[in-house]
């Protein structure tokens, strides 16, 4: 009976199939990793908390993905620390007087990782694909109102239906990566670019391996090294647990890692490690209001809430001093951002004056203002919201914190921002970019999660896109003034998410660029 049953349970074919599965597992575990590691040790291993979700830069808005694609692909233009725009793959560019056309002269002698020539026709292919609705590019709107592209010798011309002043700045961003035509074969995508590193392999959720592009020519002013990266290879390992990531860094298993906020403070005091905090993140955290709901329709009430916020405490306690207070609706270092000017427009910490404003609006100890503090979870932010709740209590505002996971939060806020009755909501959010034009995506109706304000602001936001130079700067300052004096936005801190890296002291030359891009061109690793 036993043998009969065994025969039924595991017929030969099933036994063989099972054996194959087990052997495949064993061989992938024993041979796959072991052999690869022993034969060819990487020059640099970087541990990150999450993996890229897509290595097609025209199909993702995810920072962790764009950090990788930014190493594989270059951009037509580049940006210096002061926000000035410089040549990239395009050696020069001109804008038509009406602002509705841009011409880019591509450099000679550019090659893609697969050896194919990168010229104006290749750049046209990339731009056309980026704005093609079929591509489903989440960043397509940021490319502007492109109507047509054309090529004449080595010049790419991009026509727009309306002036779009942020266009050159956008072309420097990690969202504007230029792909080589050979990347796309039918519906398949293989990341082939002109960037400093070539993709070797990607095991989803586990490891991305890149190798240096020996033919690389650098045009990014943030980078010193003019040629190929100094390191031969980079591996990005995914280690989700912060404790495990730090253990890997401390044990030397990886040379760089995304530290947790708590660990960063310890690492910065340890002479064996270096901590990097991006100062060019373009990230700005703000408080916003469901201003359609009484009494938040009263600017004085919004101001009072803003005046209760002790941002220095958020910086020093919640974020361990690793961020800065920031006074504009857009991040410091971006074009047209004038922190001193914004300070003069906005509110400052003054709980006594805040109480007086609330009393004027009819709220006090006998009639406390009740609000919901609607937030999403992020390291540092959670502690900040707790301190914020105390700050609001100090001026007599009872804030109930409602915390949601990020996707649910933004879904929820879409509805909250349309509400005109019920409990008013005070909420926090962050955004990033390389140009103040991200104000348009946020505040121009309907706006991001329906946070648009009204026709006056819409007009100003449209105007800044049509202007250039000093006139545009002035218009952006007007927008800052409108948002801050009316207290639609209360700027909090900058940056605020994914802006930290740590390395052992063996690693030198690492930099973080705009939008927390990772720059490895200058990196050397001591043995």
């Amino acid at each position: 009976m036993y043998s009969g049953c065994h025969g039924f349970l595991l017929p030969t074919t099933v036994r063989r199939a099972l054996a194959r599965v087990v052997l495949a597992g064993v061989s992938s575990i024993v041979l796959g990793h072991g052999a690869a590691r022993a034969a060819d040790a990487p020059a640099l291993v970087v541990a990150r908390s999450v993996d890229a979700d897509n290595l097609d830069p025209q199909k993702t808005a995810n920072t962790q993905s764009l950090q990788i694609t930014n190493l594989v692909f270059d951009t037509l233009l580049t940006m210096a620390r002061d926000g000035s725009i410089h040549p990239g793959l395009a050696e020069s560019w001109t804008a038509a007087p009406d602002g509705k056309s841009y011409s880019f002269i591509l450099r000679d002698g550019l090659t893609c990782h697969d050896g194919t020539v990168f010229d104006a026709a290749a750049a046209k292919f990339s731009v056309d694909r980026a704005v093609n609705p079929e591509t489903n590019n989440p960043n397509s709107a940021a490319w502007g109102p492109i109507t047509a592209t054309s090529v004449d010798h080595n010049t790419l011309t991009v026509n727009l239906s309306a002036p779009y002043a942020p266009f050159p700045a956008f072309l420097t961003s990690i969202q504007a990566a230029v792909i080589c035509p050979s990347s796309v074969v039918g519906t398949a995508f293989k990341p082939i670019g002109t960037g400093p590193f070539k993709l070797v392999s990607w095991t989803r959720n586990d490891r991305i391996t890149l190798e240096a592009n020996p033919a690389y020519r650098n045009f990014n002013p943030l980078i010193t090294n003019p040629g190929a990266p100094h390191i031969a290879k980079i591996e990005f390992a995914v280690i989700p647990e912060a404790v495990a990531r730090m253990a890997a860094l401390r044990s030397g298993e990886v040379q760089m890692a995304e530290p947790s906020l708590e660990e960063t403070a310890d690492l910065s005091k340890d002479k064996n490690f270096r901590v990097y905090a991006s100062d060019l993140s373009g990230q700005q955290m703000v408080m916003a209001f469901t201003w359609k709901i009484k009494p938040l329709d009263n600017p004085d009430v919004r101001r009072a809430i803003g005046m209760a916020l002790n941002r220095d405490a958020y910086r020093d306690i919640a974020f361990q001093g690793l961020v800065s207070t920031a006074d504009c609706p857009v991040a410091p270092h971006l074009p047209a951002t004038d922190e001193a000017l914004c300070r003069s427009y906005g509110v400052s910490y003054d709980p006594v004056a805040a109480k007086a404003l609330l009393a004027k609006a009819g709220y006090g100890p006998d009639k406390p203002l009740k609000v919901i503090l609607s937030v999403h979870k992020l390291p540092g932010w959670d502690e900040m919201h707790q301190i914020m709740q105390q700050d609001l209590a100090t001026i007599g505002v009872q804030a109930d914190i409602e915390t949601r996971e990020v996707a649910a939060f933004f879904d929820h806020m879409k509805g909250e921002n349309e509400r005109t009755t019920g409990t008013p909501v005070v909420w926090t959010m962050g955004m990033s970019g390389v140009d103040p034009d991200y104000l348009s995506f946020l505040w121009k109706r309907p706006g991001f999660v329906n946070m648009g304000i009204g026709p006056e602001l819409d007009g100003m936001l449209e105007d800044q896109r049509r202007l250039s130079g000093a006139a545009r700067t002035e218009k952006i300052h007007e927008i800052d003034k409108y948002l801050l004096q009316n207290a639609y936005a209360v700027p909090l801190l900058s940056p605020g998410w994914g802006w930290l890296m740590a390395s052992t002291t063996k690693v030198e030359g690492f930099k973080m660029g705009f939008m927390v891009s990772l720059l490895f061109n200058d990196v050397t690793v001591a043995p």
Partner: protein, 307 residues
């Protein structure tokens, strides 16, 4: 016996179809949609762009239609494409299944190696010192959160002693997660073994065997161990099923590239097809184990196969 097994397989297939439908329905109750999650880091994604993306992914269809289409494809072996990256779900799961399988087998091996002897020792020393010590260990094993134990093991063996790597999917990386899982589940195995053996030791046929003058080892190996196997096999099967689907956190702690870690990522990213694929794989492993257990019962206890 074959008829019984055929009926069991048919019932299992019905269970799996119910799981597919439920997974398809339940997933939509979770607040937040995948496109919002994808665009959470991008303020430049306009409502038009997001609507187009929803349409492209088929998320604009009514839920019943999405679930119906999903069921239709799954029964043909097509688990769909991931929302993030547009990759075949089945391929991603199959690529990681060997890693998860190996870790489950290793964890089970550790759990049995620790739990079985401890359970026997406790039962044979009932209410004695050995029993108390074993039960204390069992309580600790059940009470200690596996992720905490994993982090402690990482700290000690990887960081302090430097014996084992922190992250990866090589064979040396398997030691700590297998130990973590094994210790956690060994408590369950030990408790089950103890109670089963105690129960059997009180049976008339054991007393009879002893009265016949059999040596103690003969009594234990012939008259106690074999009947105990039926219950132990149940625990082994359940533990294995849990390990196949329930090692999600441990895979994350040790950066083990299995389907559990893939599932966590998919949940965070609202990648519905991948989450559904994981649920189906997990449910399938539980159903498969339960079928195998049913058959093993019949082998171990022939009375079950008698008409």
């Amino acid at each position: 016996m074959l008829g019984a097994i055929a009926r069991r397989l048919a019932a299992s297939a019905a269970t799996l179809i119910a799981v597919i439908i439920l997974a398809g329905l339940l997933i939509h109750i979770v607040p937040g949609d995948p496109v919002t999650a994808m665009m959470a880091q991008s303020v430049t994604a306009t409502p038009e762009v997001m609507a187009e993306m929803r349409r492209h992914l088929g998320l604009d269809l009514p839920v019943w239609q999405q679930v119906g289409l999903y069921l239709f494809h799954v029964v043909q072996g097509d688990l769909g494409l991931t929302i993030r990256g547009n990759e075949p779900v089945l391929t991603l799961l199959i690529q990681r299944l060997p890693n998860t399988f190996m870790l489950a087998v290793s964890g089970l091996g550790v759990a049995l190696a620790i739990g079985l002897p401890l359970g026997f020792v406790a039962a044979l020393n009932r209410n004695g010192l050995g029993d108390s010590v074993v039960m204390l260990i069992a309580v600790l094993g059940v009470s200690i959160p596996s992720f905490w134990l994993g982090l402690v093991l990482l700290q000690v063996f990887s960081l302090d002693l430097g014996w084992l790597p922190v992250a990866g999917s090589g064979w040396r990386n398997m030691i700590l997660p297998a130990l973590t899982l094994g210790v956690t589940y060994s408590a369950l195995v030990a408790r089950m073994t103890r109670s089963t053996v105690i129960e059997i030791l009180g049976e008339d046929y054991v007393r009879t065997a002893r009265a016949r003058g059999l040596r103690e080892w003969q009594v234990l190996s012939i008259h106690v161990l074999r009947p105990a196997l039926i219950n132990i096999v149940t625990v082994v099967g359940l533990v294995f099923a849990y390990l196949m689907g329930g090692q999600v956190i441990i895979e994350n702690v040790f950066s083990w590239n299995g389907i559990g870690r893939l599932a966590i990522q998919a949940m965070l990213q609202r990648d519905y097809p991948l989450i559904q694929g994981f649920i189906i794989v997990f449910a399938s492993s539980v159903v498969l184990v339960s079928v195998v257990l049913d058959i093993l019962y019949r082998i171990l206890d022939p009375r079950l196969s008698r008409p």
